[in-house]
Symmetry: none
Subunit: 565 residues, 2 copies
DNA sequence: AAGAACACGTGACCC
DNA sequence: TGGGTCACGTGTTCT
């Protein structure tokens, strides 16, 4: 009850502008004084959407990339290393399919700090790894763009990732330095289709999954990002449900908000065309709306838009994205919030205390002038930035056991260890071999595995006893898994994982072609194993409706596993 | 004013037991049901101390490792992967130099979850990376042990780390599995000298830095850990200053608290012998004491000890460490807190709302029964765990530009990228060499750079710069970009990006097949645009050596861009 | 129903 | 002074 009442205020609160964490600043090079700041530059933000399978809920997140003008963002000031130097939007980016503009963040080239570590900045992982979150319906259109910087949205649902990762979808490649990283992306379009740049492919659209498009300003709001997928997170979207549709997402969102009060939400549109958001859980309607963590972020963004101008701001050709605007909104919203305070849904009681600028919250203190509001925004920015980074990290780590923060960190650590070990092994191997020496100048760069030339050890892996069962990676021999879902209409989702074998890629493609499936959105990775994630494929008009089992059978056959699962 | 009053309650609050995040659970194997949970097992917790150069403040943190008995910890329940299965203390662990017992966490061998990822668990990074935080005086005796698990304390002061990192102190080695990891540490001794197990050495004792020993139960309390070093963090210690000295740290801390009220603190001891804590900033005395983030953690821990039994609990030979005890304390403290609530220093206003179990905080709600207190503790645990992981991550990353969370994450991401690049380079190098193949079974383990056995090649690296413009993402209509590199031997790298069109995927695959290229490592994504990144493909033996330009031409042709770039 | 996870809004701190 | 960062305690949700 109270919560609901609270929720309303939150609605307003949501209006507050979100920070655009992701904004990269053009000008900020100068701003970055910390020499050490390593730029993550090359990293493109990873935004993805997830859709929950079982639930209608959507979560849409889009990251807006501000043009150079507004660019300065948190990072500029703060110490965030990740900031990519320049952000540029190319005007042409809008998605043809959808009218929805998609915001993206561009990873600027590494303008800033030439940190020691930054040597490899040019390398862009984003290409290499793309994690896709499955969209429930066909909405998911991850825009595969490098540019997006920090933000990325990923469904948080554990099941989703787990399955994906477990299967060894991890892929990443190392390999290239992409010059491309530096170059870049044009306009951002916010499409309802949820196109996102998904740098890393991660995913397997497995089970639930939230789906998010959002990220407006910074990419994702504080909470919103990928984690939202988590079922709870998804809920928030419920309120927003309509967002995705043809009209600007934001507009829709605004509409939703208006409508939201009614609660449970109806999911607005058909997924197919506009990105729409279904509420994953009908939940308690508004209440959830208000407080939900990430969700609130979404709301906030919506608010931002709504308060300002819904859709158009985001249509962001380039310069439009207004970080500043956002800020203004924020301030306004903040004010609103203050007014509204007292409710503050989840945070609840706190609100009264300091939030009220002049409001004289209930609290005794009231010490700080009116600043709290500012602080609030700053904190919000900070949270968002942190979340964005966290999700980015997640996107880079191929195996994520769970989607919770601690697990992401843990997995990242473990992954780091693995990589180090691997490097060590490679080094050993290399040393054991004759030539080597001159070849790898790069190696020196890294503090780790210090290339100590002297080491010619023979480590040779005696260390590793066999025992390593290495479940994860072991692709080969791994059981083949194929999931096929037929979405309404002729959309098809396919997830397949199996051991790699020569020609598998081609045979699979041919099999799909033979089925009359046009692959529209997919990520295929081939490393230890073969992972195919088709988020959207469409059957030819001519054909008969395909049965998922048929598709599965065909794929199994093409994979050489005749009938075996 | 108010704050001070609040602070008092906080003092009490501090008494609340901290969670022992780090505790590893012996028994919890069963508890880990999540298959995906990757254990970080091998990761030893990283505890380090930092001392501020210029400031006297210390922060001491010690992680106590519970014996198996109490072991079940957050992780058990929660999903933290990082938890290492068993913790064992070996009695002999005390530092000879100092009498001060040091708590450590042991990274158990990976008893728990045989997660997929965990393959390499045995590998212990801790050895590899050792980051040391400089102690101001000579105190710093980082115990270099693998065993410590999650907790690690590190100074947060930016200057500190920055300098350290800049100087290239990063080092890590990869390489070994330490059996020691599994074995372990015996008793924990809590020495004032601040011995810590510092798994990774990081550090350079540069400027400020806080120094911490603490971590009692879980390792570090929520906030306290390494971050504390940050000057602000350090402050908290001020209050605690005395802790380190001969008496149990906790006892001292308790004493300090008692004394603290006076405020500014005197730093207690001589560093040399007992670990003492100086307040980095005289700060405003109590007030700071109460609310400071990390610091508060420290207080809490102190509280825990104080409330419970100060020193002895921690002397922890083995079983003593009481997680349970802590919990009990927590509860008690929680209760106390409730009573005290209304002040709740920083959190301030919130307190009233729900915290009061029955208190009927000012807030309207009062919905939740009395549970809030529990929630509070859980949240505290969670925060601590998260912090611990974060710090652990930091400890693993050699270059940390700044100590703030976002930077840590960003640096980690960048580092990951670097490692991947490095691996790729090594792989290339390795391939170029003749032998290799059989040598590295390990490689298979990793998702990355899958050990494609076939690879015998030589890198010649005729890189083909040809216009690498390829911005990653070019969407439709965007210029098609194709990069082809022929590595020596028959390995080929291809990066291609162009607009998506139906059938492109298939035609491209067929084209590659026609070229006799076996795609071994690749990521293909299809969203707005078509992006093909082949990190490794190999030419058939039969074929003539392909010319990059030929490949490019074929691909362009298949993409329907005849000759256009 | 207890626990975990999250986002939030605060107060405090630092630069 | 003001923005950034942190820890905290909350409320909410999900499991």
């Amino acid at each position: 009850m109270l919560s609901r009442t609270n929720s309303m205020p939150w609605m307003d609160r949501n209006k507050e502008v979100e920070e655009t964490n992701l904004w990269t600043q053009n000008n900020n090079n100068g701003g970055m004084e910390n020499k050490d700041d390593a730029e993550l530059g090359a990293l493109s933000s990873f935004k993805s959407m997830i859709e929950a399978e079982n639930e209608a809920g959507w979560y849409m997140s889009v990251t807006a990339t501000p043009t150079a003008a507004n660019s300065h963002e948190i990072d500029m000031h703060g110490g965030s290393h990740l900031d990519l130097g320049n952000i540029s939007f190319s005007p042409k980016f809008t998605d043809a399919d959808n009218n929805h503009p998609v915001l993206q963040q561009v990873d600027s080239s590494a303008s800033c700090s030439p940190t020691s570590a930054s040597v490899l900045n040019s390398l862009d992982l984003s290409h290499q790894l793309n994690y896709f979150l499955p969209l429930k319906s066909t909405l998911m259109n991850p825009i595969h763009r490098n540019l997006l910087e920090e933000t990325f949205d990923l469904g948080r649902d554990h099941r989703f990732l787990e399955s994906a990762f477990n299967q060894g979808t991890g892929m990443l490649n190392n390999g290239f330095n992409d010059l491309s990283t530096q170059s870049q992306m044009g306009t951002l379009s916010w499409s309802s289709n949820n196109q996102f740049s998904t740098n890393n492919l991660l995913q397997q659209p497995q089970s639930s999954g939230g789906f998010g498009v959002m990220g407006f300003g910074e990419g994702s709001m504080d909470g919103n990002p990928l984690l939202l997928n988590r079922s709870k997170i998804l809920k928030p979207l419920d309120g927003f449900a309509s967002i995705g549709s043809q009209p600007t997402l934001f507009q829709k969102r605004a509409a939703l908000r208006k409508n939201l009060d009614s609660g449970s939400v109806s999911n607005l549109g058909a997924l197919g065309l506009g990105g729409e958001i279904n509420h994953s859980r009908s939940s308690t309607s508004l209440e959830g709306y208000d407080k939900k963590g990430e969700f609130s972020d979404v709301n906030e963004r919506k608010r931002k838009n709504s308060s300002g101008d819904d859709g158009e701001d985001f249509s962001i050709d380039g310069s439009n994205l207004n970080y500043d605007t956002d800020d203004l909104f924020l301030e306004n919203s903040t004010i609103n919030k203050v007014e509204e305070s007292g409710k503050n849904g989840g945070s609840g009681s706190n609100v009264n205390s300091s939030v009220t600028c002049g409001g004289g919250g209930g609290d005794h203190k009231g010490k700080k002038k009116g600043f709290p509001a500012k602080n609030l925004m700053a904190e919000r920015r900070r949270r968002k930035k942190l979340n964005d980074r966290l999700y980015l990290l997640r996107s880079v780590v191929p195996k994520i056991s769970k989607m919770d923060r601690a697990s992401i960190l843990g997995d990242a650590i473990e992954y780091l260890k693995e990589l180090l070990q691997k490097i060590n092994d490679l080094h050993s191997e290399l040393e054991s071999t004759p030539s080597s020496s001159s070849l790898s100048p790069l190696l020196n760069v890294y503090p780790l595995t210090p290339t100590t030339p002297g080491l010619s050890c023979r480590i040779k892996e005696e260390l590793y006893p066999s025992a390593f069962a290495s479940p994860l990676s072991s692709p080969v021999g791994q059981s083949t898994r194929i999931e096929v879902r037929i979405r309404e209409g002729r959309a098809v989702n396919i997830h397949m994982f199996c051991g790699r074998r020569p020609g598998l890629l081609l045979s699979t493609m041919m099999a799909l072609d033979n089925l009359g499936l046009d692959i529209q959105q997919a990520v295929i990775s081939c490393f230890n194993g073969f992972a195919l994630d088709i988020f959207r494929a469409e059957q030819c008009e001519d054909g008969q409706d395909l049965n998922p089992d048929q598709i599965k059978a065909v794929l199994l056959d093409s994979a050489g596993f005749h009938g075996t699962v």
